[in-house]
Amino acid sequence: MNPWALVWLIVFAAAALCFFGAALFIIIVGVGDLKDLLTTAAERAKRNP
C-alpha cells in the first residue's frame, strides 16, 4: 500500500472514531439537556400564561 494512502486511511479512522464517539457522548448527555430545556420552558409558560 502506498505510504501516503496509509496515512490518510489512519487519519480517516481517527476522525471517524472521534465523530461516532463524540456523537454517542453528545446523545447521552444531550437527553438531559433537552429535558432540562423543556422543563424550564414549561415552568416559565405556567408562570406567564
Binding site: W4, A5, W8, A15, A16, G30, A45
Partner: protein, 489 residues
C-alpha cells in the same frame, strides 16, 4: 427499485414522528426570544447536537462524496482544515463568544451597534442573498441522492421532497428555534445511526487496500497530495483555512445556535465539541466517494457515484434507516437555514426601512411568511439551476459572498479599535465582489480573454474575496479615521 415496504415504513414513521415532535415543541415558545433563540437556554451537549445536525445535510454528503470520487484521499485535507477552524474558535471563543455576549439575534445587528443602520441593511441583504443562493442547490442534491440510493422515479421523488419540505416548513414556521432544537436533536440521533450503518456496509463490501490502489492508479500522487492536485493547491488551502474560521463563526444558521446557548462560555464549548466531530463528518462521506470509485471505476457521473454505492451495498431494512438518517440530516439543515435567513430578512432588511418599529407579534408573523417564501424558492430554484464547478465549490463561493465581508466587519469590529463605518462598507462590498464576479463571469466563460480566466478559477475567487474584504476594512478605516471616528461598543 432498491426501496422495499419495510424501508418505506421506517421512512414514513420517521417523517410523521418529526412532524409530531416539531409541532408539539411550539407550545414552549413564550415570546420573541423564545421563537428566535429558544430563550437562550440551550446547554453544551444539546447545542452541539443541534449545530452538528444543522451543518450535516444530504448536500454535504453529496459534495464531499463527489470530492472523494474525483480527487481520492487528497480531499481529506478539508477535514483537517475544518477541524483546525472549529478548534481555534472552540478554544478561544473567537468571534462567537464576543457576539453572544452582546445578546444579538442576527449578525447584522452587530453591524448596527458598531457601524450604523445602513451597514446593517447592506449586510443583511448580502447575508440573505448569499445564504438563500447557498441553500438553493440543497434540494437538487437531495433529489439526486434519493434517486440513486432509493432507485426512485422522478415523479415520486418530487412528491417525497415536497412532503419533506412541507413537514420542515410547518414546524419551523410554528415553533421557531424551539422546534428546530428539539427536532435537530432527534435528527442528530437518526443521522448518526444512518451514517454508522452506511459506513459499516461500505467497509464490509469494499476493501481498504483496493481503495488505496484504485486511488494511486487513477490519480497518481494527486490522489494523496492536495498540494499537487489541480483541484486544490495552495490557493485553495489558504482560502479554506481562512474560510473555515470565518464561515464557521459567521454562518448565520450556525451562529444562531451559539446565540441560543445559555452563555458566551457555553457558545464557545458548543463550537469546541462540534469541532471534535468535524473531521469525521467531512471524511466519512469522502470515504464513501473513494469507495464508489473503487467499486464502479471512473466512468460513473461523479455526483451519482456515492449514492449509487450506498443503494448497492446497504440492504433493504437498513436502507430505510440510512435514508431516514440522510433525510434527518437535510431536515435539520433546512429548518435552521430557513429560520436564520428569514430572521435576517425580517429584522435586518424589512424592519430597518420601516418608519414604525415592528411589534414582537408582527416580527414573528413576518418571519413565518418569509420562511414559507424561502421554502417555495428552494423548491423551484432547486430543480432548474445548473451548478457551476463542483457542488462543494458552489456552496463555498456563495458562502464567501457574505462570509468574507462579514469576517472583515465582525472580526475587526470586535478586536480592532480603528474599525469604522467606511471600512465596513468597503469590506462588505469588496468581499462580495469576487464571488459575484465569479458567478457572473462563469456564464460567459468561453468569451473571456485568456488574461482574465483566473477570475473564473473558483479557488482564486474564494481567496480573493477574503483578501479584498480584509484589505477594504483596513484601508477604508485608516484613511477615514478623522472624518468617521470609530464607535466604541
Amino acid at each position: 427499485m432498491n426501496f422495499q415496504i419495510i424501508d418505506w415504513c421506517i421512512l414514513v414513521a420517521y417523517l410523521a414522528g418529526s412532524m409530531y415532535v416539531g409541532l408539539r415543541a411550539r407550545k414552549y415558545v413564550e415570546n420573541m426570544e423564545g421563537y428566535f433563540v429558544a430563550g437562550r437556554r440551550v446547554k453544551v451537549a444539546l447545542g452541539s447536537a443541534t449545530l452538528i445536525a444543522t451543518e450535516i445535510g444530504i448536500v454535504t454528503f453529496m459534495y464531499f462524496g463527489e470530492l472523494g470520487y474525483v480527487s481520492g484521499f487528497s480531499c481529506f485535507i478539508l477535514g483537517v482544515i475544518g477541524f483546525i477552524g472549529y478548534f481555534v474558535i472552540g478554544k478561544t471563543g473567537f468571534i462567537v463568544s464576543g457576539l453572544r455576549a452582546l445578546k444579538i439575534v442576527t449578525i447584522p445587528e452587530f453591524y448596527e451597534l458598531k457601524y450604523g443602520r445602513g451597514v446593517r441593511f447592506l449586510g443583511g441583504i448580502l447575508l440573505f442573498l448569499g445564504g438563500v443562493l447557498n441553500m438553493g442547490i440543497f434540494l437538487k442534491m437531495d433529489g439526486l441522492f434519493l434517486t440513486q440510493a432509493m432507485g426512485m422515479e422522478q415523479g415520486m421523488l418530487f412528491m417525497v421532497m415536497t412532503v419533506m419540505l412541507i413537514v420542515v416548513i410547518s414546524y419551523t414556521i410554528l415553533g421557531g428555534m424551539f422546534s428546530v432544537v428539539v427536532t435537530d436533536f432527534i435528527q442528530f440521533v437518526v443521522l448518526s445511526i444512518g451514517m454508522l450503518v452506511a459506513t459499516l456496509f461500505v467497509l464490509a463490501n469494499v476493501s481498504l487496500s483496493d481503495m488505496a490502489s484504485t486511488v494511486i492508479t487513477q490519480f497518481g500522487e494527486n490522489g494523496v497530495n492536495p498540494v499537487t492536485n489541480p483541484r486544490f493547491g495552495w490557493a485553495f488551502i489558504f482560502w479554506m483555512l481562512i474560510g473555515s474560521v470565518a464561515i464557521s463563526a459567521l454562518n448565520q444558521p450556525a451562529a444562531s445556535k451559539a446565540f441560543a446557548s445559555e452563555s458566551p462560555e457555553v457558545g464557545r464549548k458548543v463550537f469546541l465539541y462540534t469541532g471534535i466531530t468535524l473531521a469525521g463528518r467531512y471524511m466519512v462521506p469522502m470515504f464513501w466517494g473513494v469507495a464508489a470509485l473503487t467499486m464502479f471505476g471512473p466512468s460513473v457521473n461523479s455526483m451519482m457515484a456515492m449514492p449509487k454505492l450506498l443503494g448497492t451495498v446497504v440492504p433493504s431494512g437498513f436502507l430505510g434507516l440510512m435514508v431516514a438518517g440522510m433525510l434527518a440530516a437535510s431536515m435539520s439543515t433546512y429548518s435552521a437555514y430557513m429560520l436564520a435567513w428569514s430572521s435576517v430578512a425580517t429584522r435586518d432588511i424589512i424592519a430597518p426601512v420601516r418608519r414604525r418599529a415592528l411589534s414582537e407579534r408582527h416580527t414573528v408573523l413576518l418571519t413565518r411568511i418569509v420562511t414559507g417564501l424561502i421554502g417555495v424558492f428552494i423548491l423551484v430554484f432547486g430543480f432548474w439551476y445548473e451548478i457551476p464547478a463542483t457542488a462543494f465549490q458552489y456552496t463555498a463561493i456563495t458562502g464567501a459572498m457574505y462570509a468574507a465581508g462579514a469576517f472583515g466587519c465582525v472580526a475587526a469590529g470586535l478586536y480592532w479599535k480603528k474599525a469604522n463605518i467606511v471600512g465596513a462598507y468597503a469590506s462588505l462590498g469588496l468581499g462580495a465582489l469576487a464571488p459575484i464576479g465569479f458567478l457572473a463571469l462563469d456564464l460567459v466563460k468561453s468569451s473571456l480573454p485568456p488574461g482574465l480566466l483566473f477570475l473564473v478559477d473558483v479557488n482564486v475567487s474564494g481567496f480573493l474575496s477574503f483578501f479584498l474584504a480584509v484589505g477594504g476594512m483596513v484601508v477604508g478605516s485608516l484613511l477615514t479615521q478623522k472624518s468617521h471616528p470609530p464607535v466604541r461598543l
